[in-house]
Amino acid sequence: MAQLVKKDDDRDEEGVHYLVCYLIAKACWSYSTAEYSPFLGIEKGAVLQEARVFNDPQLDSRRCSQVITKLLYLLNQGETFTKIEATEVFFAVTKLFQSRDIGLRRMVYLMIKELSPSADEVIIVTSSLMKDMNSKTDMYRANAIRVLCRITDGTLLTQIERYLKQAIVDKNPVVASAALVSGIHLLQTNPEIVKRWSNEVQEAVQSRAALVQFHALALLHQIRQNDRLAVSKLVTSLTRGTVRSPLAQCLLIRYTSQVIRESGVNNQSGDRPFYDYLEGCLRHKAEMVIFEAARAITELSGVTSRELTPAITVLQLFLSSSKPVLRFAAVRTLNKVAMTHPMAVTNCNIDMESLISDQNRSIATLAITTLLKTGNESSVDRLMKQITNFMSDIADEFKIVVVEAIRSLCLKFPLKYRSLMNFLSNILREEGGFEYKKAIVDSIVILISDIPDAKESGLLHLCEFIEDCEFTYLSTQILHFLGIEGPKTSDPSKYIRYIYNRVILENATVRASAVSTLAKFGAMVDSLKPRIFILLRRCLFDSDDEVRDRATLYLSTLGGDGSVVETDKDVKEFLFGSLDVPLVNLETSLKNYVSVHAEIQEPSEEPFDINSVPKEVKSQPLAEKKAPGKKPTGLSAPPTGPTSTVDAYEKLLSNIPEFSSFGKLFKSSVPVELTEAETEYAVNAVKHIFDSHVVFQYNCTNTIPEILLENVSVVVDASEAADFSELASKPLRSLPYDSPGQTFVAFEKPEGVPAVGKFSNMLRFISKEVDPSTGEAEEDGVEDEYQLEDLEVVSADYVLKVGVSNFKNAWESMGPDCERVDEYGLGPRESLAEAVSAVINLLGLQPCEGTEAVPSNSRSHTCLLSGVFIGNVKVLVRLSFGIDGPKEVAMKLAVRSEDESVSDAIHEIVACG
C-alpha cells in the first residue's frame, strides 16, 4: 500500500493492478511463490466477461484499466477476437468516454486503435473523438487525431480535414506530429485529400521542433515524390537551411542522393551537384548522419576515388567504434564498396581483420567476405588460416556467404586453387545442413570446371564426400558430374571404387545414379569396359526395379549382354546427350498418353513415341531473364551457368528450320532491354552470333490482361549496318497476357568477319481485345506498331570470355609468331581504372588473375585478358597503361593469337573504338 500512497499525484494504475492481481492470485494460488505472472491462467472468455464492467453505471476506472491491460495482453500474444467479440468489446469500450479519468482515457484511445472497428461501427465513436479533437486539452486533440485517422474512411476524412490541416501547424509539437504521421498513413489510402495539405506541411518543415520537422519532411517528400522539380527545389532549399533533427537530416541525405541520381553525372564544371553538402555531413555531430552521408557518397554512380576517400575514412573510423551497430553499418557499406572499388577499401583491411573475432557474427562474416574481395594473392593463405578458426562458431547461413566469397576468390586467383580447394574439402567433412553442403559442392564443381588443374583433386574430394553423404540429392548430382568428368581424367579407374560403393551401401535413388555413372565410364574408357560389365551384371539382382532396369538397359546398350551393339557414337549420344525435348512437353505428352488409355480402359497397343512430343519451347524460362548478374549455381545448373544457357539457345535455334543450316552457335549475348520497365509490352533481345549469320531473338511479354497480340514480328531497319542483309524472319503467332514468347530475325554477314552495325526495331502486331469475363479474344483486331530501342552489334559480340588459369604459361606457349604490338593514346580520362574498364568492355575478353582491379593512385597498370575469337581462335592480350598529370592515358596493346589476322582484328577493334 505504501507504494500507492507515495504516488498520489501520478496514480500508478499498474501499482493498483499489481495489488489487486496479487490478492486474487494469492487467494487462488496460495501455494505459488512470489514469481507469479499477473496474467497467469488468463483466458479470453473470462476476460471478455470481465469487460462487462465497462457497462457499469458507476465506472471503476482502475478496474476498467486492468481489464483493458488484459485485453491488450491477449491481443499482443497473437490472440484474435471473433467479429462478434470485437464488436461487443468495442461498444463497451466506447462507454468509457464518459469517465473523466485521464489514465483510463489514454487506455481507451489505445484500445480502440487495437480493435480497429469496422466502418459501420466507427460511427459510434466519431462524435466523441470529434469532440476530443476540438478539446482545449492538447493531448486529447493529439490522441483523437491518431485514433480518428486509424479508423477513418474517405467520407469521414473530408469532414475532419479542416481540423487536421490546423493540427499540422499546431503550436504543440505532439499535436502537429500526430497530424503529420496520420498524413503519412492516409496518403496510402486517400492521396488526393492529403495532397491538398501541401502548404501546411511545407510550413511544418520549417518548425523549430525537431520531430515535427522530421515528420513533415517525410510527408512532403511523399506528396511530391513524382514531381522531380519539386523534390529538387525542396532539397536545394533545405540543404542550405538548418535541419534540426538528425533523423530529418538522414532523410534529406537520401532525397539528395535521389536528386543527384536523377540529375545525371557531373555538370559542366566537372563538380557533382550537392557533393559538397554530402561531404559536409561527414562532419556532422550525429553518427547517424555521418554514416548516411558516407553511404550516399559510396553509392554515387561513377564515384571517383577522390570523392570516395573522405567517406571511406569515416567508415574506417566506425570500424573500431565501441558500438556494434556502427561497426556493422560500416563493414556492410565497405563490403558493398569492395564489389566495385576493391582497392579503395584495402586501407581498411587491418581494421577489418580485427573484426573477424567480433562477438557479433554478422559483423565478423561481413568482415571476412570483404577481406576476401579486397585481399591480394599474397594474403590469401593468411586469410584462409583466420577463416578456418572462425568457421566453427558461426551458423550455416553465414558459412554459405563465406563459401560463396571463397569461390569468387578462387576464380580470381586460380593459382591459389590448392589452398582454397583444401579449405573447401575440409569444411565439406564437417557438420552442416543441406544448403551449406550444397554451396560447398557447387563451389567445388565450378572450380573444377573453370580451373583444369583443380579437376583431379576436386573430383577426389567429391568422391570422399559421397562416401559419407547423408543427402540423396547431393550424392546423385555428384555421381552425375563424376560420370561426365571422371572418364576424361588420367586414371579413371580410381573413381570406380567410390561409385560401386554407392551401389552396395546407398538407397535406391543413389544406387540408380551410380549405375548410370558406371555405364558412362564403360562407354568412355574401353580398358575398363569388361570390368564395368561385371559390376553392372551384379546390379541385375538389385531389389529395386529402377536400378535393375538401368543395369539391363546399359548392359544391352554397351554390349555387355553379348548382343550386337549400336555404334560407339550412338551409345555416347544416348548416355551423354541430353533429352532433345523440353521436359514440360514430355510430361504433358505422357500424361495425355496415360489418360487417353485410362479413359477407354484398355492397355495401349502402340508404345509411346518420343518423336510425338512437341519440341517447341512454349515460353522462355524465367531464369533467362535473370541471367545477367546471376552467379553460376554449380550442380543444379550443370557445370557452368553460361554454357547451359548457350545450350538452351542452341537447342532452341536448331529446332527452327530456317536457322538450322547456320552451323554451330558461337556466342549468345545477355538479353538487351529494348523497352523501359513497366511499359505495355516488354521486349528484350538476345544476339546469337554464327560464323556467317547473326540471329536476333526478341523475347516479348504482353503486360496488358485485356489485350491479345497476334502475328507479332519485329521489323528491323539495317540501314546503319551495311555488312548485314536480312535473310529470314520468324513471327510469333500469338502473345497472350503474361506468357512470354519469341520472334526471330536472321541476317547474313561476311564469314568470320566481326562486322558491326546499328539496327532500329519496330514491334508490329495485330491487337485484339479480350473479354475479361470469358477470357476470349474478339475476332477482329487492329494492326499496330510499337517503337523499340535500337540494337547494336559490337566487336565484343564476336569474342567469348574464356579465362586461362596461368596467363604467363599460356602467353609463352602461344609464342610470338602471330604477336602484334602497338601503342595508343586514349586521351584524357577520368581515372586509370576507368580507362582500363573501358578497354576491357570494348574488347569483351576475360580479365585474368584479378588484373582488372587497378590500385588507387597508381600511375601505371598492366591488365591481362584472354578469350576466344570467332572461328574458335584463342586470343591473349597484355595491356599496359600509363597516366600522366593532366590524366592523359597511353596504352600499349600486345596481342598473341593462333592467327595473325585475329591479332590484327583485335587491334582494329581498339583503333575503331
Binding site: H17, N143, P173, S177, R361
Partner: protein, 147 residues
Amino acid sequence: MLLAVLIANSEGNILVERFNGVPAEERLHWRSFLVKLGAENLKGVKNEELLVACHKSVYIVYTVLGDVSVYVVGKDEYDELALAEAIFVITSAVKDVCGKPPTERLFLDKYGKICLCLDEIVWKGLLENTDRDRIKRLVRLKPPTEF
C-alpha cells in the same frame, strides 16, 4: 518501415508483439526467427548492448534488458542505425516505467503502461516520439515540458 517490435522473456515466450505491414502468415515465421536469433546470440550479453543482423534487405537490432529481450525489425529508411535509435527509445521507456531493467514479473506488472509507451514511440511502423521525458508525460496525457 519499422516492421516489428517484439519483446520476449528469457525462455523465448512472447510478451509483446507488434507487427506493421507484415502479412499475417509471415508473422509466425518472424517470431520464431527472432526468438532463435536471440537464443543463439544473447547469452552473456550485457544489458542494452546492441546486436545486429540483416536478413536479405531487412535489418534486425536486438538486445537484452533485465529478464526480457527486445527486437526491432525494419527495412528501407529504418536501417540498423535508425533501429538502434528506436530500440534505445524503447529500452529507455521500459526502464523509466519499471524503474530499472525489469524482471519478467515487473515487466508484466507494468504491462499496460509499457503498451502505452510503445504506442507513443511507434505508430504503425513509423517512429513518432523519441524523447524519454516527453514519452513519460504523454502516456499520462500531459503535454511535453518544452512546449
